[in-house]
């Protein structure tokens, strides 16, 4: 690919999801991350109980992310053809896992405030 710059990547992602949806997702990710950092700073420590639930949700997030990719494309597990495919699959799963963990932790912290 010629000139694979950051701007090109943004332009391509805007086209994949549509400009509105793409930036809405970026904002959502930033807001969730900011909220996560906020509760960490506010509570001054990680709550292990909340963290446990967050961890338990990780496999769900991983599976959901992989199924989502398969749903929006005409492809499935049997199409894994080489090492890079496995890496992509694990990458998608990890993104889903970490994403949901951060989300679950943050939501608990925000909803249940400082208890626990």
């Amino acid at each position: 690919m010629k000139d694979l710059t950051f701007t090109t990547l943004i332009a391509v992602f805007e086209e994949i999801f549509g400009r509105g949806l793409f930036w809405a997702m970026v904002v959502a990710a930033v807001v969730i991350t900011a909220a996560y950092l906020y509760v960490l700073v506010r509570d001054r420590s990680m709550s292990m109980r909340k963290f446990l639930l967050a961890q338990l949700s990780m496999p769900l997030g991983a599976i959901a992310a992989v199924l989502f990719v398969q749903l929006i494309t005409n492809s499935g597990f049997s199409d894994i053809g080489g090492p890079i495919d496995l890496i992509v699959l694990l990458g998608v799963a990890s993104l889903g896992a970490v994403g949901i963990a951060v989300l679950v932790y943050t939501l608990q912290s925000l909803i249940r405030s400082r208890t626990g």
């Binding site: 010629k2 000139d3 694979l4 950051f6 701007t7 090109t8 005409n74 199409d79 992509v88």
Partner: protein, 437 residues
């Protein structure tokens, strides 16, 4: 003291960091200031090449009068046709409006270029309008010569076991009607390609692989006999890829018929005649995929811009293969499928050609010489089944030029290459049209 000395420098540092990030994020590569000019630039064709170029030129030229001429209200994302003809996307997936992609501040003439006079530097439209230019870019793509196949007509597509996915979205959808019937009922399937240069030489192979795969998945592999009619003794113009395809064919039980060029069909009795080195041969089919000979549009062939000693039956524009500049008329450039260069008839090539034409055109307007060169880069995500493809990229020298060396193997059937075709390709194409990729 230290405090006050530190404060401004930190502010400067933060300012620099912020503006640096902003610059990296928003402005992309630093561009020179636009060239002030009153030059008249005319672009023929608002397809992949013309549209991508015009969207870049408006940022590079200040005061130029830019005119783009295209008779079609619809813009076609042609790489999507392969997916439509395999039932994976609807016809609408490939269609958008030409004007949706064109910038403001230019003139769009919704007519065909009917005549080009390179001596007086004038283009005449099908509406009779004369448009004078200082610089001309020809990017009208190519024409499909369906009439060259005796007995064939586009009305036949979709029934009688005939497909022709190149002919456009509607025909690609009708191709799927005929092809899907074949994947259920089986019989002999013949997949052809023309002996001329053609756009996306991988597409005939993709259709073959996809239809075989769909029949296989439906449990009907035993009922189908698939023949790939190659135009010469190879299966693809790049030898190493041809060899790989030969192995895949062997593995999948697809029979190559070398040097079989489709000449005529008898739709009633479902027989096709092929020209071969040993004379004509007739084959019976239950499904026949037709890709006709491809040539430069008449307006190009009649304007005297074509090569006189190469591709004389096809008429591609006589340009320097590195700069895409016309060899006899330096104020004319050719872009995309119409350019008379070996290889390069893909949208991916267009992506690499546009910055080259832009560079030389803007330099010429500014009175300097451009430096960018096109190396023949051509790319084709060669689909081998639903869910897998090979990301084949190569240049004039038949070298493989992988974009992600060591990460995405070009000659391996991979899921990631399929994801690129299905998810990222149209997005990249659209970004290219907007002049952003």
């Amino acid at each position: 003291m230290t405090q006050s000395a530190f404060a401004p420098s930190r502010r400067i540092f933060l300012g620099l960091a912020a503006s640096g990030m902003a610059a990296a994020a928003w402005s992309g590569p630093v561009r020179a200031a636009p060239v002030k000019t009153s030059a008249r630039v005319v672009i023929i064709g608002a397809g992949a090449g013309g549209t991508a170029l015009v969207n870049r030129l408006i940022d590079r030229l200040d005061g130029a009068s830019i005119t783009i001429i295209d008779p079609s209200e619809k813009h076609l994302y042609q790489p999507g046709l392969s997916l439509v003809a395999a039932g994976l996307k609807p016809a609408s997936y490939t269609e958008s409006r030409t004007t949706d992609w064109l910038p403001g501040g230019i003139t769009y003439i919704n007519k065909a270029a009917a005549g080009i006079d390179p001596e007086t530097r004038r283009v005449t439209t099908s509406g009779g309008q004369a448009v004078d230019y200082d610089f001309l870019v020809v990017a009208p793509g190519l024409v499909l010569d369906h009439d060259a196949i005796e007995g064939f007509s586009l009305d036949l597509v979709g029934s009688n076991g005939i497909g022709a996915l190149y002919a456009g979205p509607e025909y690609a959808a009708r191709t799927w009607q005929a092809a899907s019937k074949y994947t259920e009922e089986g019989g002999v399937g013949i997949f052809t390609r023309p002996a001329t240069e053609m756009k996306c030489a991988g597409a005939p192979l993709k259709h073959t692989f996809l239809i075989d795969d769909i029949a296989r998945t439906a449990g009907n592999a035993g009922k189908t006999e698939i023949i790939y009619a190659a135009n010469n003794q190879s299966l693809f113009g790049v030898p190493i890829v041809s060899e790989k395809v030969r192995m895949l064919f062997e593995n999948r039980g697809i029979t190559p018929a070398y040097s079989h060029v489709l000449k005529s069909i008898e739709p009633g009795s479902q027989r096709a005649t092929f020209a071969t080195p040993d004379g004509d041969t007739e084959l019976e089919y239950d499904y026949l995929h037709v890709i006709p000979p491809q040539r430069a549009p008449d307006v190009i062939r009649q304007s005297g811009l074509s090569w006189a000693d190469k591709w004389t039956d096809q008429g591609w524009v006589e340009v320097d293969r590195q700069t895409l500049r016309h060899l006899r008329y330096p104020e004319i450039f050719a872009l995309g499928d119409v350019a008379g260069v070996p290889k390069g008839k893909t949208a991916a090539s267009v992506k690499w050609q546009v910055p080259v034409v832009e560079d030389h055109l803007v330099a010429a307007i500014a009175g300097t010489e451009g430096t960018a060169t096109y190396n023949g880069y051509t790319s084709c995500p060669l689909i081998t089944r639903v869910g897998r493809a090979m990301l084949i990229e190569f240049d004039y020298q038949n070298n493989l030029t992988p974009s992600f060396p060591g990460i995405i193997a070009p000659m391996e059937e991979l899921w990631i290459s399929w994801l690129m075709k299905e998810v990222a390709l149209k997005a990249t194409y659209n970004a290219m049209l907007r002049g952003k990729a």
